[in-house]
Symmetry: C2
Subunit: 215 residues, 2 copies
Amino acid sequence: MADSNNKDTVKKILDVAESLFAQKGFRETSLRTITSKAGVNLAAVNYHFGSKEQLIQAVFARTLTPFCDALEKRLIEHVHSGEKHYTLEELFDVLVLTAAQVYGGDVSRFTLFMRLLGLAYTQVQDHLRAFLSENYGSVFKRILVHIKMAAPDMPPKELFWRIHFSLGAAVFTLSSYETLREIMAEDYQVNISLDGTMKRLIPYMASGIRADVID
Amino acid sequence: MADSNNKDTVKKILDVAESLFAQKGFRETSLRTITSKAGVNLAAVNYHFGSKEQLIQAVFARTLTPFCDALEKRLIEHVHSGEKHYTLEELFDVLVLTAAQVYGGDVSRFTLFMRLLGLAYTQVQDHLRAFLSENYGSVFKRILVHIKMAAPDMPPKELFWRIHFSLGAAVFTLSSYETLREIMAEDYQVNISLDGTMKRLIPYMASGIRADVID
DNA sequence: GTATGTTTTAATCAAGCGTTTGAATTATTT
DNA sequence: AAATAATTCAAACGCTTGATTAAAACATAC
């Protein structure tokens, strides 16, 4: 079993696929482009992953699994610690911190992945949606519980909407981060960081969620 | 010149293409699917529009042109009227009203188009981005001016970010409106309307944009 | 050093794509 | 009614796609 070479090929494919999927989308990235750019044979994808669909899922799992595990651990620990509920800002901070921890400072890979997450919402990949909800749905539900504790006075329906508004703001912004960065540099002569962008998102989302309910 | 039949074919193609593009994306919708569903010949697209790319642009133009014209007219009129600047809420209301006017109550077509707008951001279609910015960039800039008047104390960079956060919230929410509606009905036994959703977006975005700047 | 299982390779397959073509059909003009 | 222009049609073209195959190369174990 040539494990060293094996892992090389698998990793090379995952790296290139992640990058190309984020740049072009799933459908518009061919296995030929991936394998040639990774310097491996065309058949390697089907050999190591089974199919293109399973490669897509593997790309998500590689990042999502450690992130969700780390996040779940933090959330559970906080409940067990007996400390006060998170505020919205604290909760969002935990998300950002956990993301930073998992990515270990590799900003461009993080933005790449946020783009992928955005694509997962907008591109038709039924197998992906099923895969994500099956494997990571429970963590999402756990976050929901913490948001509800942070905004106890908000009517549940209203809260539901505003969480989705926030999700949209975050996914949309982070997935088009590279473009926005360029515009920012051109129009405002300012270089912004990903960290800074996420920090800016937090007060926006928190304030939006807490807005007065008119109804 | 068989104009009546011509317009029929053109309209049939546009209707079907709009719907399919919104459901599946541009790349994953083939001309064969469009033409067969529209009941016209495969070659009709290339005959009437020139290419698939130009068909995509035509789908956007059909809705965007009347919308932007109507919006521009309203904004200019308000400036000339000498009344006070719009508040953020009033400005967003104008956007919603104009959209409703252009769509004339056809909610499903409106949400369809919002999905398309979301796709335009996330799918790689350089020709589309160029087409949109060339034809509708001036209207976008005009809206920016009004937002700046509505939030005069906000530092321009911060405002820039928050506008994009809001754009993300709106596009994301409205483009997945149908799905959210189903979840809402299931989990909360409530039927929500598109109008109601947009109305809910307004205080969220306005409050988010006005959040305290920490810097 | 031979045997065994794993990985890589090049070639090929069937299917789907956007586009083009030239003839047939339909509508308009004279 | 004849001539002309616009539209529709079926068929084909060249190309790219994901997947499969059988042979070659490689690593590991005995």
